[in-house]
Symmetry: C2
Subunit: 154 residues, 2 copies
DNA sequence: GAGTATTGTTCAGTGCACCGACGAAAACGA
DNA sequence: TCGTTTTCGTCGGTGCACTGAACAATACTC
C-alpha cells in the first residue's frame, strides 16, 4: 500500500504552520503569555465586559477551553471575573490595569513577529494567504455550526 | 489602545484552520485515530523500521510528543517497538498487520475528507494554498534549526 | 405559577505540543 | 583507553483543545 504525501494534506500543513508560529511567538513575543491568551486580552480591549462564552466565540475556543484560559489569566491578575447581577449564569470579564498594560506591550511585539513570520511572502501573496485560509476555515466551521441545518428538521 | 484585528494575524488563522480540520477529521475519518497518529502510521508504511526520533522529525513532532503518540499506538497494537541491537539508544518501529490495515482504511477516508475541506478553493487556488503555507512553515522552522547559525560562532 | 427547556459554567477524561532535566548508550578525542 | 561530548529516550510540568456530563440560573409554555 502506497503511503500518502503529507505535504498535500491541508491538516498536516495547518499543524506545522501552527507549531512554527508557536515557536516564533515564544522567541519573539512572550514566554508568559500565549497566543490564545493574547487573543482573549485583545477581545476584551475591544469589548470590555463581555461574558465568557462570547469571548470564546470571538477567539474561536469552545467553552471548556476558554474557561481554562480565562482562569489562568485571572489567576495572574490580568483580568477580573464577576457574576452578572442581571443574569446569574454569566461571568462578565474586564481587563485589569495590568492586563491592559500587558496587551499594549505585546501588541508591538506581535506586529514585529508577524513581519518575520510572513517575510517569505510578498504583500500580494500575504493578501491571498489570508483570504485562502479564511475561506477554508470559515467553510469548515460552517459545516459544524449550520445556520441552516444540512438536513431540514422533520 | 486600539485592539488588533486578529483576522490579519497568521497565528490566529493557523489555529482556526487546524481546529476546523480537527473537527472535520473526527466527523469524517476517525474518532479513534487522530491526524498526528495517522501521520506516524503513514511514515512507517513508507519507511518501516525507522527509529522514534526520525519518525518525529518526519511528521514534525518533538521527542516528548512523539514518545506519547507512539506509546498510544503501541498500546493499541498498531505498531511494534524494539530496541535496536546495533544501537541501544534507539527504538525501531514497525507497523503490525492491524496497523497496516488501519492505515489502508483511513487513507481512503482521509482523501475524501481533504476534498470536503478544500471544496471552497479551485484547483489553482489549492496549489497556491499549499505553496504559501509550506513556504511560511519552512521558513519559520528554518529560523529555529539554523543550518547556518544566525550569528557566526566565535 | 409549575414544569420543562435552554443557556452559561464547571468538571473529568483524552490527546497534542512544548521545554528542561535526567540517565543510558554510543561516538569522539587526547 | 579513559574521560568528555553527543544522541536517544523518558519523565515532570505547563498549556491548548475537544467531548460529554453535571449543575445552577434563566427563559419559555401551558
Amino acid at each position: 500500500m502506497a503511503a500518502a504525501d503529507l505535504t498535500t494534506h491541508p491538516g498536516h500543513l495547518a499543524r506545522r504552520l501552527q507549531q512554527a508560529h508557536y515557536l516564533l511567538w515564544n522567541a519573539m513575543v512572550s514566554e508568559e503569555i500565549t497566543s490564545p491568551q493574547f487573543a482573549v486580552l485583545n477581545t476584551l480591549v475591544a469589548e470590555p465586559g463581555l461574558d465568557q462564552r462570547t469571548v470564546g466565540e470571538r477567539v474561536g475556543l469552545d467553552r471548556s477551553t476558554i474557561a481554562e484560559v480565562i482562569s489562568r489569566l485571572s489567576r495572574r491578575g490580568l483580568l477580573d471575573k464577576v457574576r452578572d447581577p442581571q443574569d446569574g449564569r454569566r461571568s462578565l470579564l474586564h481587563l485589569t490595569d495590568e492586563g491592559a498594560r500587558t496587551h499594549r506591550r505585546l501588541t508591538v511585539r506581535t506586529a514585529r513577529m508577524n513581519q518575520v513570520f510572513l517575510a517569505p511572502l510578498t504583500a500580494d501573496e500575504r493578501t491571498v494567504f489570508f483570504d485562502l485560509i479564511r475561506r477554508v476555515a470559515d467553510a469548515a466551521e460552517g459545516l459544524r455550526n449550520p445556520e441552516e441545518p444540512l438536513v431540514a428538521p422533520h
